[in-house]
Structures are given as structure tokens and as C-alpha cells.
Symmetry: C2
Subunit: 412 residues, 2 copies
Amino acid sequence: MSAGSVLGSPWVPCPEHVAAGGELPAGFRWSGLAGGLKPGGALDLGLVVSERAGTVSAARFCDSGVLAAPVVLTRERCNLAALRAVIVNSGNANAATGEAGLAQAARVQEAAAAALGLHPREVAVASTGVIGVLLPGELIASRAGDLAAALDHDADDFALAIRTTDSLEKRVELTVTLGAGAVRLAAQCKGAGMISPRFATMLCFVQTDASMAAESVDALLGSAVRRSFDRISVDGQLSTNDTVIMLANGASEVRIEPDSDDERDFGDALDALLRTLALRIVADGEGARRVGRVVVRGGGQDAVERVARAVADSPLVKTALYGADPNWGRVAQAVGAALPGSAPLDFAITMGGVAVARNGAAIPFELEALAAAVAAETVLYEIDLPGEGAEAELFFSDLGYEYVRINAEYTT
Amino acid sequence: MSAGSVLGSPWVPCPEHVAAGGELPAGFRWSGLAGGLKPGGALDLGLVVSERAGTVSAARFCDSGVLAAPVVLTRERCNLAALRAVIVNSGNANAATGEAGLAQAARVQEAAAAALGLHPREVAVASTGVIGVLLPGELIASRAGDLAAALDHDADDFALAIRTTDSLEKRVELTVTLGAGAVRLAAQCKGAGMISPRFATMLCFVQTDASMAAESVDALLGSAVRRSFDRISVDGQLSTNDTVIMLANGASEVRIEPDSDDERDFGDALDALLRTLALRIVADGEGARRVGRVVVRGGGQDAVERVARAVADSPLVKTALYGADPNWGRVAQAVGAALPGSAPLDFAITMGGVAVARNGAAIPFELEALAAAVAAETVLYEIDLPGEGAEAELFFSDLGYEYVRINAEYTT
């Protein structure tokens, strides 16, 4: 089995010291149950807890002007470097709910802390679902005891409980072999729509039994998020609720020292983990059939970033990707739109390895080769702008009938 | 009949001195024929000519970094204040075609000028269609004589020839009664997808038999374009080919003096004309079922503009509009995404006259009233941000299955 296929994408090579599968990190427990927020008795409440005092943590959130109550509460009232647990609900985002929403989120946090014997500032809260409907905090609080009682060394129910429109599973368990010994690294993630720019409408909970400094966790998580959830787009929409929380509890007794080779190797594993999950979000991008990767190179970081976003978010590029349409002119359109006033622009475009434009103009190419390349499961768009030294990469999903169906019919 | 209904939209009141219908402006002739660029013998070549020497004109183009050859040629080699004719083709945009594309456009321009006995700099060229395929300029040039021979005081074939994926007719004839007398004002327009930001993938040709200074035509056209084609979005995509050209030939012998009441009244008529056509583009937005209008008010022009664009371009808002889904949370999402770092943001949202959020949070409202409002043919989104004095307005189409069908299957 090739290294890439272990993690499920040809675009995420698996480092040699990392093996997929195996056990969950030691010293963590998970649970999930149906609280009635989703219809039909689906799981919608989840809890993940580290059993060990001295657990360190780090978190990242989206930067919307309309931040959901759980994000505000967790950011403002938790000790983000020393979290012990996260209580999560799907079916309701608790966003645009004002002071009342904050009070409901706090009620959930308090109930979970009480059920676990922790201080509220050790318990993060995360929500996902419909915006603008007050969270039934008392209902969730009343189930905190049940969630605590159901805790087990099994993340199945938890992973199910955090999902909304997801159709692909988004959880990965890795064994990371370091100089100091082997550690476990796992994550459960959700996200399919309202994805990008920066980050995603997504929740991701990462656990490791490595022993690490909180500063290491924060630095490695920040770097991995920038290279993963910050680089994907399903529909160019930024959520109100994005949350990534990583807990490291030291249960393996394997210590990762700051600035060591082991820290770098562990960071590579975390990077592969989050990139794998980010790509799975894109592949699951509501109704997605194909995944695109755009790589833009040129002389200015701002220009390459703008062009990459314009291509990844273009509904014309995305519908062409869906239709396996070799219409590269839409890529040229997006490039031009991203850089107004720059005409005549000296750009080059290669799609699926087939060069279609050089020096700002069409060049002869094999239409059959291009048609075959854009009908693959993954399509690489390479764009060169004038100059060199800057590069931007984004992963994006196509836009098809299923996106419309899901989003025209997913209602309040 | 109410003034509004004359022009077809409740959002464009018809000025009292303007009457819809009636004759085309005097002293102009139009033609259209099938040149073989579109399959199936559809009309794809058009010509509009002013018969009178001394005709004045003005033009506006999009500002993409990837400008089509006809835009570059017309901008650089024509006398934009003294155009006499425009030759147009659909079925091929002649964009991203480099020097060869410029040569083909020049060949078309020269052939039209020769057939009409004009100087090439008096003849503008416009193209629309697929990007990245060299225009068959010689083929079009060989039909210039036929186009000239077919010229008539009838714009039907011309209006058909400039269309691509349009399903709604986009031509309006007005009679404008001024103090100095009555003049005729007409326009033929095309556009359905790849619309916005600023302007649209659209072509619009405006004629009047008023006698005006070139400076008046330029100022009035610029102002009307800013309030019409600059304020619409079908899919947030900027084209490579957008072109608006207005000709005023004085055949009515009615003189409009600069800075006169007549100039202001004529400007109001031009404004209503272009807003009507812009709204028809939005209503025709590939597969559109409903039209949205977003009005954002607040304290900073940059903020209200960004929020209006974010709402109008959001695929989540657009699919909800398509599905008549009263899910206002997606509007809140778009507001927050447009203003990162501003949380907690004090915003208010009213949809179809139903207030749903105040002070950044949901308020109680009648769900049935909201559901009825968002199922109407037109839906108004009103958003208030902190502060006052700035306002931005945009018109946008929904996003439905038909947009996907058209764009996944409209291929090279």
C-alpha cells in the first residue's frame, strides 16, 4: 500500500514514521447520545474528556463578525491552554442569539463541568447547525449526566453526534513513532458546507497521549490549521462556529520536548492528519463529485492568494469541475477577475497536467487528454503569474445539483 | 397601468416624462444574421449603425486582468466619443487569445468599416461566448457586406444575434418627452451568467436620436452604468468582455444642452432604461426563479458595500432564495463573513418586510409571514449596520438546478 493511500488522498503523503489505524490515544473517553435537537432520534450530543490532570490544550476559531455563542464563551471564559473536556451539539449553531444564547451556552458548560467534576473553564463548548435559533441549553444540560455516564474508550458515537450534512466519515487515528517512543494521535471532525475562506464551517477535536508543553500544542496546531482548514473551500462561505480544539494528556509517558526532532516529526503527523480531514471535508462538500486543487505561483503573495481564492470559489469553475467540462476559459476568467486593472496579464494555465494557456493566450493542446484529466476524481489546476517566490494552494469541491438540493431544502 | 409595471419591475419606477414602447430612434439601422459561430443556424452576427455624420458616443468596459481582444481593440484603436457603428458576434468571446485574437478582431473591424464606408476607428467591435478559442475573423469579415446589406430600421435580428444563454428578451424602447421636444431612446442587451462584481458579462448597445454633446453622453452613461450593471450579481463572476456603447445621432433635431433640466430628465430616462435591463439580466440569471435586492445601511461605505456583495454572492443565501427557504441565518452568516474581527456586531436584518434580527440577535417573528415573503418573485433584504450615512444596493439572482445544468453542460 502506498503511503498516500493510507490517508486516502494522493495529495497527502503519509510520513514514514506515521501509521494509520490502531488504538485511540490512551487516557481519553468519548460519548454521544440523541438529545432531540436533530429529528428522528439521530445522535446530536457529544462529549470528549481527558482523564488526566495536567492535560494541555490549544484552540483555533473562525473570525466572523457574527461569532456564535459557544465560540465567544469558550474563547472568553475557558483556559484554552488547560482544557480537559469539550461538550458538543449538532442541530443548532446557537449563533446570532445574543445574550440569551450566551446564557444557554454557559448553562451547558456548567452542567458538563458539574457532571465531570471539573471547573467550567476547563470545559469547552461547541455547536453546529442552524443559525438564529436559541439553543435549548436546559435540555442539553439535563443530559450532561447521561453523557458522562456513557463515556467510553470508543469515539464512534461522539464522531456521529457532531455531524450535520456530512456523508463521509471524518475521523482518523494514527500511531506516531518518535525517537522517545510511540504516541497515539486521533481526531474527529465534521464539515461539508459553509466552508472557507479561512478555516471552514467545521468542528475538529484532536487528542494525543503524547506529553507536551501547551506552547508546543498551540504552535503545532496553529501551523497545521493554516495548512489544512485554512486552505479549503466548498462554497466560499465563512461560518459563525468553526472550532478546532486539541488536547494532549501525556498518558503515553512519551515526552516531546520543544524544538526537538520529535516535535518536528509529531508536527508532520498532525499536519498530515488535519490535511487529510480537510480534504475529506472538501470531498464531502455538499454533493461533491470531484475535488480540485489549485496551485498559483508568481511574484506577490497577495496576488497568488487572490487568484487561488477566485478560482476555488468560482461557481463557473466549480460547475465545470462537476460537469467534467474542459472549459479552461472559466479559469482564465477567474484569474482576470481577481486582478482587475492588470491587463494584459501574462498568465499560464495547466489543468490535470495539460498546458492550455501560455503568455496570457490559448495554446494548442490535446482536447481528449484534457477531457480525460478533468473527468478524474481529483483535478489539479496550476496557474503561473508573472514573477516568482510566492505560492498559494487551495483545495475545493465542485458545485452540482446535490449542493442545490441540500441547500435549497435544508431549512429552519 | 402603474408607472413601475411599464418597465417590468416594481423596483424601477418609470419617470413621468417617459413612455415605454413606440418607435426606434431615427437615423439608426440594425441587422443580424447567422454566421455559423453558434450551432444550428442561430443568429450570431449583428451590426448597428448611425446614418448620420456627427454622431457622438461613449463606452464603458469591464476591468478584468484578462481583457478580451475586442475590448482591447475598441478601447485602444477607436475614437470612443465619435463611434458610428458596432459589429458584434456571439458564440465566441475572443478572450485569452493573445496577439492572434487582436488581429482577428481588427480584421472584423476593418471589414465592417469598409462595408459601411467608415474609418475603422469609428467602428467598435464586441464579442461574447466561449473564452480561449480564436475568433474566426476571416469568416466574420466575409459576412460584413451581407450585414451591411441587411441593415434596416428594425432591431429584432440584432437583438437576437447578441444573445448567448439568455432566455428573457432584453431590449427596451422609450419615448422621452423633454422641454425641447420628444426623443427616442432604445437599447439591446444580453447577459445571464458570469455577472458581477461591477458590471456583468454583458453587452449593451444604446441609441438615441437626441442631439447631445459627447461629454453629456459620457457622463450620463457612466452614471447610469454605475447604478445598473455595476449593481447586479448573478454569480459573482466578472467577465472578460463586458461592453456598453451608447450612440447619440441628433436625428430628432432636439438638442439637449449640458447642465440643463432636459439633460437631467434624459439622464433619469437612461437610468430607468439601464436599471430595467440590469434587472432583466438578474431575472434571467441562468435558471433564476426569484430576484433578490439587498440594501445595506450603516456608517462606512466600505463596510456596507462588502456586506451587500457578500449577501448577493453567497451561494447559501442564493440557494435559500431559490428554495423559498426562510433561513435568515445564512444572511447573518454572510454579514459576519464580510466583516471579520468585528464581533460582537450590532446588526439588524429584515427580509421581505419581516424583521428577524435586531442588535445582532434573533427576535420573535411570524414564520408564516416570512415564509410567504421569501416565496414572492422578488425578495428585499434590508441590513442595518452600526452608524449611518452610507448605503449600498445590489440586485441578485437565486442559485438553482438550472444554473448547474447550464454551466455544467455549456462546454467548449
